[in-house]
Amino acid sequence: MRWHWLVAITLAPVALGQSSGTIPRTPEGKPDLSGIWQAFGTANFDIQDHQARNGVPAGQGIVEGDEIPYQPWALAQKVKNFANRATADPETKCDLPGVPRITYSGLPFQIFQAADKLTLLYEYAHANRYIYTNGTPHPRGPIDWWLGDSRGKWEGDTLVVDVVHFNDQTWFDQAGDFHSDQLHLVERYSLLDADHLKYRVTVEDPKVFTRPWNMSLILYRRREKNFQLLEYECYGFDLEKYYP
């Protein structure tokens, strides 16, 4: 029966969401998140549990408890958004997809980590984010940014990022889940091992939801030799016709 015990100790850190002690570290001793990461799954279609529909594979949601605590008016709006999603989803206009959607948009992104900030470069539309870890506060608002303003700090081996200053123009998914410009996120990045990065985000928006709620997923390191980010420029017009 010894193998049961072995399996148990091997899996335990992963199950608890803690690092297994073999994670890469920076010269300062912080977990080193540098590398190319990608989310797999169907969250960009729908962050909640959903069965297959035309063009959308079935998927298990990333919302913890699978319930999004909408205020009654907001739930009605979400239902309307869902009905109109083919044209109303901001993704169809190639706008920047917002945070956290850009994390699970399905395309890879690369983290470059330095002591004062992490630079996140996304294959989607050359989007970029800086997560400052130098103790600076958010700039004074109000500011309406597509990807918000990110300030991070290390809590043990977890990078905790506070994100504010959003506009109200992005959705969480193609299914019409939305927020207002009062969106406030707390993201938590923690390495499970060298190649798995746990991502958990707390979503708070007093205009739209009745309480904070959480999403969590795992990002996978792309380990193929010479793997690199390519480009996905999104066009809201007939590019090949005008610029053959």
């Binding site: 540098s34 190639c94 706008d95 600076t136 597509w146 010479n226």
Partner: protein, 283 residues
């Protein structure tokens, strides 16, 4: 020098104990005047003469308005240093095409006359260098350039890996870098060349190959040179050179903030409407 530096980095990643021996070799192998580490180049940089209106008469946009108001143009030297006449050595058909685009750029009666820059599409590696300030980030295996206007970026691996397959074409090209003393040399291929090189219709094809040299002369000054070779469009390779300076020296806390460009962009519709109205009033 470049390959020695790469070897040091590569070995550092996998074999820390071997470092001392390799560093010893490196010091022995390089000329006495060369540094054994690349210069510190992180931070914000900008061309002394900014703007992507024209390569031969470099300036910011808005020239049309300036001309209309009778404000005399400031004549900056051509960015093109080779050939000596400061002109792009186009093949005849290509010169004709460039002039055709230039003639219609301010009254775009067709969507294809519109400069892709006005649509917030990425500018390509050379034009992006001149449009706005850019931030350089420096890591042992990468140099990253983040351009402020419309947020395109370039990730430049320094590990000697081969270029992408030629069927993959990119707006910002595929960059591979190495250090030669104080010069970062970047080889750029896989260009889709759908962006233009200036506002007056200068262009290349997807056969374009660029070799850039970023020479850092001191902490705050850098010379940018780029040789553009495209046998499908030009009669010979040609060269751009420009002086760059470090920006925000007195503001070390400066942050590059979000610059969404495509989002809410209305230039294109406005230009087309204006041109259409003009055309119908002339009939």
């Amino acid at each position: 020098m470049g390959s020695i530096w790469k070897n040091i980095i590569r070995n550092w990643q996998v074999q820390p104990p071997a470092l001392a021996a390799i560093a010893g070799l490196a010091i022995a192998a390089v000329p006495a005047h060369a540094a054994d580490t690349p210069p510190h180049i992180e931070g914000f940089w900008q061309a002394v003469v900014e703007g992507t209106y024209s390569l031969t008469e470099p300036s910011r946009g808005g020239i049309g308005l300036q001309d209309a108001l009778g404000i005399p143009r400031k004549h900056n030297a051509s960015r093109i240093v080779d050939p000596a006449d400061g002109q792009i050595p186009y093949q005849p058909w290509a010169r004709e095409k460039q002039r055709y685009i230039e003639a219609h750029i301010n009254e775009p009666t067709k969507p294809e006359f519109i400069d892709p820059q006005a649509r917030c599409l990425p500018d390509g590696p050379v034009r992006a260098t001149f449009w706005s300030a850019f931030q350089i980030l420096q890591f042992p295996q990468y140099v990253v350039i983040e351009y402020e206007s419309n947020h395109p970026y370039r990730i430049i691996p320094l590990d000697g890996r081969p270029h992408l397959g030629q069927n993959i074409k990119l707006w910002m090209g595929d960059s591979r870098g190495h250090w030669e003393g104080n010069t970062l040399v970047v080889d750029v291929s896989n260009n889709n060349s759908k962006s233009r090189l200036s506002n007056v219709g200068d262009f290349a094809s997807d056969k374009l190959h660029i070799v850039e040299r970023y020479t850092f002369s001191d902490a705050n000054h850098m010379k940018y040179e780029a040789v553009l070779d495209d046998p499908a469009v030009y009669t010979r390779p040609w060269k751009i050179a420009a002086d760059m300076v470090r920006k925000h020296v007195k503001d070390p806390g400066y942050e590059q903030w979000e610059e969404a460009c495509h989002e809410g962009e209305r230039n294109v519709a406005d230009s087309l409407n204006t041109a259409a109205k003009q055309e119908s009033s002339e009939k």
